[in-house]
Amino acid sequence: MTATASVAAANPLRAGLRLPRTPQACAVVVFGATGDLTARKLMPALYNLARERMLPTGFSVVGFARREWSDEQFRAAMKEAVAKFSREPLQDEIWDSFARNLHYVRGDFADSGAYVRLGERLAKQDHAHGAAGNRLFYLATPPTAYAEIAHRLGEAGLSRGGPDGGWARLVVEKPFGRDLASARELDQALGMVFRERQIFRIDHYLGKETVQNILVFRFGNGIFEPIWNRRYVDNVQVSVAESVGVEARGGYYEEAGALRDMVQNHLLQVLALVAMEPIASFQGDAVRDEKAKVFRAILPIGDVSAETVRGQYTAGAILGEPVPGYRQEPNVAPDSRVETFVAMRLCIENWRWAGVPFYLRVGKRLPKRATEVAITFNRAPLQIFREMAGIAPAPNLLVLRIQPDEGISLRFGAKVPGTRSDVRPVTMDFRYGTSFGVEPPEAYERLLLDAMIGDATLFTRWDGVEAAWELLTPVLDTWAGGASPLRFYEAGSWGPEEARQLIEREGREWHRM
C-alpha cells in the first residue's frame, strides 16, 4: 500500500522491483529494549527484514533501557530472542552481520543525562554507518512513559533528526490514552515535541496481510463494490473471539478492559476499512482521510444500556479443560468489574451505510479463536422458494476471515439434487494458506519497514484516535456509573445472553464462527 509510481520515478533502478523503495540508512532506537515486546516482536522483525535484504547498509539499532547491559550483553540477549521467536531460523553469518550494528545505552527514561549519552552515541553511529541523522524512536514501554520520553528527546534535541538534516520519527504502541481526556493530554505532550507527521501510532492489526486484503478485496475487484452499500447489505459484524483468558496480563487488563484493549483500536480500524469509501490511490493520506470520514460518520451511542453489552467470564471449560473465571486470574481483583466481553451496535450515518447496523463483538474465553468480518446481504426480493421448500433460503453471507485460517467465503443457496426444489446453503471458500503457501511476514515487519520509509498509511492518525475516544468515552462513563450492568458468561460460551438479545431483537443473529 505504498505510493509506487512517484518513487519509481525518483529512483529509476526501482522500476519493476519487488519493493518500490527501501528505507534510507537510519538508526532505530528502542526504548524498553529489555522488555517482552522487543524480544518477541521487534528484534525478530528487524532481523527478518535484514535477512530479506530490506534494510539499508547503514542501518543500526540502539537499545535503551534501565538494565546495566553492555553492547555484547544486549546482542547476546537479542540473539537468544531471535532464535526463539523469529519466523525463520537464525543464520549465524547473517546474524553476525546484523548484530555488529546493535548497540545499547543504559538509562532511566527520566534521566536527561542518558539522552545526552544517547545523542552522542547516535552521532557516533551516524558517522560510522553513514546514517545521515535519520532516527526512528520506538516506544516499547508502558504508556505512562510515553510523554516523559518524548519530552526528554525534545530536550536533548533528538526530535529533529541529526545535524545533517536527517529525519526523526516516533512510534508509539497502543493504548493511546485510556479515554478522550487522557488521549488528548498525551497527544498534546507528544505534540509539544513531535509533529503529527512524525508520530506513527502502531496498531498491529493494520499490519496483518488479511486486514490489508480487505482493501484489495473491495477495490481490486469489480464485482463487490457495487453491492457494498445499504441497498444490498443487511448488516455487518466484526467479531474478535479469543479462547485464552488474560493469562499473565491481569494487571494490565484490570486497567484496560476489552473496550480499551480491542474495540477502541483493532475493531474500529477494521470497521473503518470495511466501511470507507474507495480511494483513488495510495498516495499520501488517502486511506487515513477516508477512515477518518467513517469515524466522523458513526452516530454517538445514545442509549448505552440498550446498544452495548459488557460481560465478564466466570469459570468454565475451554476445549474440555476447566479454566478459572476472570476474578480468579492472577493480579485480578476478586470483585473486579472489568469487562472481558463487549458487544455493541453502531450506525454509520452516511449515504452508503444509513440504516445498516454494524455489530461489534469481542471477548476472551470464548469457545475458539477467530477474527472475522461477516457481511450479511439482503434476502432476494421475492421469496419464490419459500413456498416450494417451506423455508426461505438463508441470506447470502460474505465472511472475511482475518485469523486464523485466513480467507474469504461466500454463502449462497443451491438446489439440492432431486425432484424437489429444496435449497441448501453452500459456500465458496478461498483460503489464504492454501492459495499462497508461503508464510506471510509478521505484521511488525511490515509496520517497521513502513515507519522507516515514512509511509504512515497503516498507522493511525490522531483524528482517528480522537474520534474513537469520542465515541467510546461516553460508554466507559456510563459503565463506570453503573447504569449498564456487568453481565457474566461462562468461559467456553459465546458470551452473555444479553449479547444474543442485542442482535436478535432486530430479527438478526450473530454469525456463527
Binding site: N11, L13, A15, R18, L55, T57, I94, G130, G437
Partner: protein, 365 residues
C-alpha cells in the same frame, strides 16, 4: 519436497491413452480415492494456472518434478509436461496429483500433473493433446526447459501461451540467447520471462537500494565506473543483463565499445557525464554467473559480492572516512524458486526488454 510440507503423490503406473476425456475421468477417480482414503473433505483440488513445460530428456523431467515439488504450495496448478522422447514409440501419457498441507494444518491442497511423451515426429499430436488438456479460463504459462523457442513443439505451445518462461543461460552464448528471446517477443507478441533475469533480482534490489533517497539519487547521477564480474570462462547472460539494466535505467548511450567472449569494455555517456563499464569473466573457484558488482562515484564505492560457500551476499559501502558492511541472504536461484517468484509478479517486461536490448548492444549486436 520442501520440509514443511506433507505430501501425497500418486502417478498412474501404466501409460494412458491420450484421450482428454479419459484423463479427466482418471483425475476424478483420483479425487474420489483421495477422499475415501482419509484425506476426506479436507482435500481441495485447486488450479490457478496451467503450467505447460516443454522439454527433452531426463533433465526436463527432473526440472519439472522439482518445480512441481514447490510450485503447488504457492501456485496450485495443472502442470503438463510435454516431453520429446524418442524412446516412446507413440504419444502416451500418465497423470498424477500432488497434495500438500502446511504444518499449521488446514486442508490438503492438490495440484494435478499430466506427463505427455512422444517422439519428435509426433510433435503436432503432442501439441494438440496439450491444448485439449488446458483448464479453460486460466492463464497458460509455457516453460521451455532447455528447448530453443524455434523448436517445432515449443512454437506450437507458445502460440497458446499467455506467459513464456525460458532461460537465456541455457540457450547458448549471451548474444545468440538474447537474440532468440527477442525473436520470441516479436513472433508471439508476449515478452518472455527470462530465468537468468530472475536470478539477478536480488542483485538488482541491492544495487537499487544503494541509490534510494535524495542523497542516493544524487549519487546515481555521479556514477563513474561500473564493474561486473562473473566467475566463468565466458561472459554470462546474468552479468550482461545486469550491465544492460544499469545502462538502460540510467539512460546511458554508448560512445566506445570493445567486446570479446570474456569481456566487455565500454565508455558510456549521458549528456556531459561519462561512465566506464567493465564486464569480465574471471574463472576460478566454483562457477558463478554473477560474482561481483562494484559501482564507484567520487564520494564512495559500493559493492556486492557473492560468497559461493555460504550463498550469502556481502554488501559494502566505503567512503573517504568510513565503511558500512552487511551480509544478506542471496535469493534462491534454482529453476523452481525463480519460476515460483516470477509467477508472483505481473512482470516487468519493459524493464527486462530494455535491459536485454542494452545488453545486446554491449555485446556488439
Amino acid at each position: 519436497m520442501a520440509p514443511d510440507v506433507a505430501s501425497i503423490e500418486r502417478l498412474a503406473e501404466e501409460p494412458l491413452a491420450v484421450d482428454p476425456g479419459a484423463i479427466e475421468d482418471e483425475f476424478n477417480r483420483i479425487w474420489r480415492d483421495t477422499a475415501a482414503e482419509g484425506y476426506d473433505s479436507s482435500s481441495v483440488r485447486l488450479r490457478v494456472l496451467n503450467l505447460v513445460a516443454v522439454g527433452r530428456g531426463d533433465e526436463a523431467v527432473a526440472a519439472f518434478d522439482a518445480a512441481m515439488e514447490v510450485l503447488p504450495q504457492r501456485h496450485p496448478c495443472r502442470g503438463i509436461l510435454a516431453l520429446i522422447d524418442e524412446s516412446t514409440p507413440r504419444l502416451a501419457s500418465s497423470i498424477g496429483a500432488r497434495c500438500w498441507r502446511s504444518p499449521a494444518g488446514g486442508r490438503h491442497v492438490c495440484s494435478e500433473e499430466v506427463h505427455l511423451r512422444a517422439p519428435a515426429a509426433q510433435h503436432q499430436e503432442l501439441a494438440s493433446a496439450v491444448l485439449a488438456l488446458l483448464v479453460p479460463d486460466l492463464v497458460v504459462a509455457a516453460w521451455l526447459i532447455g528447448v530453443a523457442p524455434d523448436d517445432e513443439l515449443a512454437a506450437d505451445v507458445l502460440d497458446a501461451a499467455d506467459r513464456v518462461f525460458l532461460d537465456s543461460a541455457r540457450l547458448g552464448d549471451p548474444p545468440s540467447a538474447l537474440q532468440a528471446i527477442a525473436a520470441v517477443a516479436r513472433k508471439h507478441e508476449v515478452e518472455p520471462t527470462d530465468f537468468a533475469w530472475g536470478r539477478t533480482a536480488g542483485w538488482r534490489e541491492l544495487v537499487a537500494q544503494f541509490f534510494d533517497g535524495d542523497d542516493g539519487l544524487a549519487q546515481l547521477r555521479r556514477i563513474e565506473t561500473v564493474e561486473i564480474t562473473c566467475a566463468t570462462p565466458r561472459l554470462t547472460s546474468e552479468a550482461m543483463l545486469v550491465a544492460g539494466w544499469l545502462v538502460s535505467r540510467l539512460g546511458l548511450s554508448l560512445a566506445d565499445l570493445s567486446c570479446a567472449p570474456d569481456r566487455v569494455e565500454a565508455t558510456l555517456y549521458e549528456r556531459t557525464r561519462g561512465v566506464t563499464l567493465h564486464v569480465r569473466a574471471a574463472p576460478g573457484g566454483p562457477p558463478l554467473p554473477l560474482q561481483h558488482v562494484r559501482i564507484t562515484t567520487p564520494e564512495a564505492t559500493r559493492s556486492l559480492e557473492l560468497h559461493a560457500e555460504s550463498g550469502h551476499l556481502h554488501v559494502r559501502e566505503r567512503w573517504a572516512d568510513g565503511e558500512a558492511r552487511r551480509t544478506v541472504q542471496a535469493t534462491p536461484e534454482d529453476d523452481a524458486s525463480v519460476l515460483n517468484r516470477s509467477l508472483d509478479a505481473l512482470g516487468e517486461p519493459d524493464v527486462y526488454a530494455e535491459a536485454r536490448r542494452a545488453a545486446l548492444a554491449l555485446l556488439g549486436g
